[in-house]
Each structure stands twice: as structure tokens, then as C-alpha cells.
Subunit: 230 residues, 2 copies
């Protein structure tokens, strides 16, 4: 290398696309997706033999994938008993909301990245459209994207990843409720208010409203959760 080439950074950005992922990671990817979309419901046991045969990978590779997802808290590993799709307790849900509240309200209040506000607005719009057409699953997805966008205001890659993980985990809670589809709809109005306040630059007020959202949503979710099989 004669000097730092200007195009080097450009190509470096594409490095990730270069298929340099192990099979264990790809296996983890499909399992994660299946857990998130509910095909593998909480409590399900994943035996090494069945899963390995189904995905056509060796037991060792599968175990590597399992470890990954255990670390992400989507699976739990019981020694000599196997791995299971995690079943959240009511306390788990409460804690999940507690840390979300911390991250999201702080991100909104500090709001280091005003350029990311439009993404918040877009997520709210998607949710409203989905609700109008009664696509409840999409309403839920849009709602999660809304909160992801709020956390993203912090401008921290790491907060972003943490949020992604928290929301994936939260899906576990919805999958054991009897009517998860309509859980998010009531909050669409509140989301809209928060987004408008942010667009208007009123961060402190937006943070306050968000705090109120958490009070309401947490209480309702935990109640619904306890009732329907928590």
C-alpha cells in the first residue's frame, strides 16, 4: 500500500456482505427468526438430534448456535436437560420495561441526533396505516420500530443493538398472550403525540409523555400476561 487509498474505506464497508459467516451463525439466524415470529413458542424444547437433522448440521455446530441464542436470552440452557425457548416470567417483563424506559427516555431527552427524528415519524405513520387496515401484526411490528427509532436518537450503535435484542425478547412475552394482536393499537395516539413533539423539538415534553406511556403499557402488559398464562 503506497498510501491510504481513498476507495479503501468504501470497499471495507462491503466486507460484511462477503458471506464471511459461519454456519453456526446462519443456524442461529434461522432459529432466531423462528422464535421471533412465534413458530417456536416459549417452552418448546429443541433437542440436538431433531434440530440438527432438520437443519442438516452437525451437533457441534448446532451447539455453537444454541450458545449464541442463550446469550441473547432467547433460549435457556439447562445442564444435561437441553435447550428450551425461553419462557418469560412477569418479573422478566417488568425488568424488560424498566431498562427500556431508562434507555428510551434518556435517548429522547438528550436526543443527540435530530436527524433521526423522521424515522420515528415514519414508524408511527406505518403503524397508523396498518391499524386502518386492521393488520394487527404489522401494527405491533411498527410499534417496535417506533421504539427502536426512539432509542436510536441516542446515536449509539450499541444502544441500537441492545434495543433490537430487548424487543426480540419482548416478542416472547406476546407469544404467550391470548390476544397479542391488538395489544399495541391503543398506543398509536400516544405514539403520534410523541412523534409530533419530537418533530417540534420539544424533547423534554416528549420524554415525559414517553414515561407516561411506559406506566400504562407496562401495567397493562403485566396484567394481561399474568392472566393469560404468565
Amino acid at each position: 500500500m503506497t498510501a491510504t487509498d481513498p476507495w479503501a474505506d468504501l470497499l471495507a464497508a462491503d466486507r460484511a456482505l462477503l458471506d464471511r459467516t459461519s454456519t453456526a451463525e446462519r443456524v442461529a439466524d434461522v432459529l432466531r427468526q423462528r422464535i421471533i415470529d412465534g413458530a417456536l413458542s416459549p417452552g418448546t424444547r429443541l433437542s440436538e438430534e431433531s434440530a440438527g437433522k432438520a437443519l442438516a448440521v452437525s451437533r457441534n455446530t448446532l451447539r455453537e448456535a444454541f450458545r449464541l441464542l442463550v446469550h441473547e436470552r432467547l433460549l435457556v440452557h439447562e445442564f444435561h436437560r437441553g435447550v428450551f425457548v425461553r419462557v418469560l416470567s412477569a418479573d422478566d417483563v417488568i425488568d424488560l420495561y424498566r431498562i427500556r424506559r431508562l434507555l428510551e427516555t434518556s435517548a429522547v431527552r438528550r436526543g443527540e441526533n435530530p436527524g433521526l427524528v423522521p424515522a420515528v415519524d415514519r414508524a408511527v405513520g406505518d403503524g397508523e396505516r396498518a391499524a386502518a387496515e386492521q393488520r394487527w401484526w404489522d401494527v405491533g411490528t411498527a410499534n417496535m420500530r417506533f421504539h427502536e427509532a426512539l432509542a436510536a436518537l441516542a446515536g449509539s450503535p450499541r444502544v441500537n443493538e441492545t434495543m433490537r435484542q430487548l424487543l426480540a425478547e419482548l416478542r416472547l412475552a406476546f407469544h404467550v398472550m391470548s390476544r397479542p394482536e391488538q395489544f399495541h393499537a391503543p398506543y398509536l395516539g400516544l405514539n403520534r403525540e410523541i412523534a409530533d413533539l419530537l418533530t417540534d423539538g420539544q424533547r423534554e415534553e416528549a420524554a415525559a409523555k414517553l414515561d407516561a406511556y411506559f406506566d400504562a403499557a407496562e401495567t397493562q402488559l403485566v396484567a394481561a400476561y399474568r392472566e393469560h398464562q404468565g
Copy 2:
């Protein structure tokens, strides 16, 4: 079980002590410790053969341990090249401080768990004693415990674990600086002020001081980091 026995919960709490850990986890434990205390410095490559022979475990088990630590961001895994002790960039350090600021200031401001304030005070005391006796390594440890105690005010097991992980990661930064020993000492006074404010119940003021701490510490650390081999 005729009914839910009263002592069952008591024993359940001790379940963790029951040695139910895999060798992979134990291997991860010793590697983690070695990384944290600096015996394995950033950039070091851990070959499967050497490490496996040294710890007397098979390659498969070792790879499981590696995965664990990669997920904790203490190691990085390069496909077909091996695993290395992570080298933090200046941007990594900045992001680390950003999320710490979010978590700690929120925890202090909300302070759901006043009963945990004494732990904060104790950590400051330990730091002061260590500084008086010029045990700089212990000053650093006490400082980390101070911040861990601040985050613990949130009363969330999950925040606690996140903090532990963040601080472990931060050790990686100190290990590449030329004089990490004395980095924490200047902040002892500020720590004391924050602890006193908290003991006095003045949470909002404590949070403000903490915010100031982050401004100072981050700037100084990043500067020192960039200079000494960042």
C-alpha cells in the same frame, strides 16, 4: 409435592451453587478473568491449539467458550483467522461512555432503590482508602464498583449485568494506555460529592454532577487513549 412447601424457595435460591456449569463456561470464566486483569492484552491471538492444550480441553469445547466471549465483546472472531482479544477503537470508547451515561444518570435520577445508596458510599470509601495507600489498581477497581453501584440504583438485574459487561469491556481500554493506574484518582473527589448528594436524597443534583463527570472523564480518556496507542 402435597402443597407448595415453604422452604422450597429457600433451596431454589441455592440451586446455582450446585456446580451445574459446563466446562465451556468454566473455560470462558478463566479467559474472561485473564482478559480483565490484563494478562491477555488486546490484540493477542488465541489459537485453538495452544489454548486447548494449555487448558486441557478439546477444540470443540474451547470454541464454545470463545463464542461466549465474542458475544460479550471481549474477543473478536475473524473468520478463518482466529480469535483475538478485542482492541477498542477510540469510537468504541466513546460509545461505551455514551451508553454508560444513559444508564447511570437515569438510574441515579429515578433512584428506585434508596436502600442501595450505602453501597455507593462504600465504594467511594474503598477508593479513598486505596488512594491514600497509593494502591492505584485498587483505586480503579473501587471506581468501577462505584459506577456499578450507581447503575444498581435502577433496581434492575438486567441493568446490573449490562453494567458489569460494560465495565469489563472498559478494562480493555485501560490495558492499552501507558499509565492507566492513575487515571481514576482525579475523580475521587467528584465521586465523594455524588455519594454525599445521594445520601442526602438530592438525586437530581447528583445526576447533574454525574453528567459533568462523564464530560470530563470521557474527554480525558479519549485523549489519553488516542495518544498512547489508541
